[in-house]
Amino acid sequence: MNAGDAPAGAPVPIVRLKDELASLERAYSPGHHGLWSARRRSHLVDTALVDLYRAANPPGERAPRTALVSLGGYGRGALSPRSDIDLLLLHDGADPAGVAVLIERLLYPLWDAGFTVGHAVRTPEDTVQLAAERLDAATAVLDARLLAGDGDLLAAAFEPMLLRMREDPDAFREALAGDARDRRARFGSAAYLLEPELKEGGGGLRDIHAFGWLQTVRGRPLEEDGMLRPAEREQLAAAEEFLTRARSALHLESGRRIDRLFREQQSDIANAMGFRDEPRLMAEDGLMRAVFEHARLVDALTDDVIIGGRRSGPPPDPVELPDAGEALALIAEAAEAERPLSTAELDAVERIVPANEIGWSTTIRDAFLRILRAGRGATQGLHTLDRMGLLVRLIPEWAEVRCRPQRDPYHRYTVDVHLLRAFERMSEALAAPDADDPLAAVAAGHVQERDGMLLGALLHDIGKNGEGGHVVVGDRLAATILARMDVDETTGALARFMVAEHLLVPDTATRRDLGDDDLILDVAARVETPERLGALYLLAKADALATGPAAWTPWRQALIRELVTKVQRVFDRGEMGVEVAERLADAIDEVRELLRHEPAAAVERFILRMPRSYFLSTPPAQIARHYATIAPDLGRQDVRTSTREGGRSGTYELVVVAADRPGLLSWIAGALSLAGLSILTAQVFTTEDGVAADLFEVEGAFEAAVGEERWREFRSLLRTAIDGRVSLEHRMAEKRRHYPERGGTPVTVAVDNEASDFFTVIEIGAPDRIGLLYDITRTLSDMELDVHLAKVATYTDRVIDSFYVRDPLGRKLEDPPLIATVESALRARLTVVPEPSAG
């Protein structure tokens, strides 16, 4: 089809046709060429072709016996602006040369004028034969319409074909079903894909036409056999009108015969069709929503009637349902039995659908939860609720996500289809966990609160309603919806948690440093329990699988699993859990309160930088005191110290802050020892940005009160050690020589790689003596081990120390020979006091 100017010398019918097509196109905006316009276009072409046919068979000339027949859409009397003109010239086979002349006279003017003509020249017998072999040939003839010539020839093709098909109408339906399945596989669905194929896609125009063909073959209205309900007929008609308009607009806007509604054209087509931007819905999204709404109904009917083979027979006895509760119970029963509703049941449900929102009662809630729990039938049940308009009346918030397209590189489906698919994946994961995914199997096995998991998956993106910030909005909406449903408190709590935190696992896994132990603790603190962690993992997986093929890649899986595994181990070790998380949150709140006069941003930065173990092991009042020493920015060579009297008389609290570097701890320990200070306890923390904050409880080694001169000596020794101006090793050995070893309890060294995912933990027990911590830490730094965290405690004569260490590349010590070397080096150093080297 091609409007516009006819070429010079074109026959009169062509000139007139071109002219009239152009004025038809001018008569409406491109978005308002619906079925009426398509019929008018078809009629104009009819007139021209009849004239051409007559002119090609001039009176007096011996003409072959022929019939000019229109096929396909043109046969149905509806032509879209750029559709092919499909023609069949039937002839009796007696005069091939005459037919060749005729076809040239008919087609050349059309071709010359730029029309796209699909044509076939056959005898009735060949036509019947071909229709028996090919479905598309058969359906084309089912739409055949005589334009001019000998009607008997068309009857000779049409009637035998129809008779044969009527012998087994169900076989014909099966053939249509096969075609529908093939088209879905090839063109995808028009019911939710962002670039839908309006003609061949699932729920598209071809699906609508299939109902017409089935009816022609069955010989009477489908309603009379109970195969189509009157309301469904109206839905098909409305969908055909709308999709025809959209397709015509696409032809006119693009100037080409394309049937896929590409993204870049959607804005123009939407405007042409009268869609306007709304506060929460752009015009092109409004267009897509309308396309999806129509196509979804067509798709569902195709599933039921054409593919599913809805039972035909006399109209069934009507079913009566008193109210929405009974309707939901019926849908739940069908979902549990994995059966579709009968037409009588659909009629009955349709009758009770109220105009407005449905209030939740116990009956309704129980039926709704039964549908969710129905396993394989659950999704079908939800689709039935959706199709009958019940879902948006039960959950009004659903209307905003229904058929709403998602314009990003990952999502293939509308928000509501994505939610239903995520729900389906979650339902599958709970019923039969994926054997190839040990995490999913274990997580599903630990789930107690299944309703919560199902509701969480169903509602996780309910906040994608165009407001923006879908997680926050979703949390708010989910709270309202779950309260309305009045589900159990634990059910509602888990579902709401899943909605609010559904991005926590995937976003953290792909964007944050999973080698950061505090990050893992923070995630564990937010998740609180292994069950909720399992719920987030299963939801992350269901969400990704329901998004599109690109979302659950091995790459993402590896990161997500690493995070989940690490967080779970934090729970296993008791490092974090409900109680610890509460304690941590309380401690941090208290620190904030105590530091309320400090600049809030600086306090938050301090809280973020310091390890979680610091807040868990140090009293808030002490943390508040440390703030002034630890929080300010620190230069590479700076050392900052502060001291105050400790909790017990004669003890002192010492804080040392310096840029972390190998050996730092040993220098501090050595400097303390040389300055005559004994270490009672020590705690060593390292911030993520590489600052060591070391806390010591010390006492005078020789006298009860420690005077300023000892502190000064300590600071000076530490300073010179850091600057590399003095070897503490030599001076320590010298000093130690003057003090006899106390001996007694044996030295124990244990290397533990299970206690942490991030560090090797070395536990050391040894008799207390001068410079013990120095010796240990010096050995560790000689072995190039970085001490990230240390706890030192003195019990009368014995010291129990644990050190969280890593190698210079941040790895745990996994190599057995290396572990053995570390152990023996520590034992050797702690058992035998080294002699000072000669000189």
Binding site: A441, V442, R511, L559, R561, D572, G810
Partner: protein, 112 residues
């Protein structure tokens, strides 16, 4: 012209992008990749279930630059991607013989 390819940790990619933007690099390609170097695969355990991790997820960054810009880009990536821990990745540089901007047909440095 040089093709600079870097393999970096996923959580450093934002820093790398920013660093490159800061020095005026206006085009780059990233790909999610998996592999291993010195940082090998390992076995993980989740609530008693074991699973094998064969490859480590990384992001590959590719930047095409003029000869004299290469060093700046390398330095920027190196600085932004560095954490000092195992698995920080690698950067390598290869000669790009020809570059064509498909839309315009521009060739060589004009196409960068």
């Amino acid at each position: 012209m040089k093709l600079i390819t870097a393999i970096v940790k996923p959580h450093r990619i934002e820093e790398v992008k920013e660093a490159l933007r800061d020095i005026g690099v206006n085009g780059l390609t990233t790909t999610d990749v998996e592999g291993f170097g010195r940082q090998r695969g390992h076995t993980e355990v989740y609530r008693g279930a074991e699973y094998q991790v064969d490859f480590v997820p990384k992001v590959k960054v590719e930047v095409l630059v003029a000869e004299d810009e290469a060093q700046g880009v390398i330095d920027a990536i190196e600085k932004a991607a560095r954490t000092g821990k195992i698995g920080d990745g690698k950067i390598w540089v290869t000669e790009a013989e020809q570059v064509i901007r498909i839309r315009t047909g521009e060739r060589g440095p004009d196409a960068l």
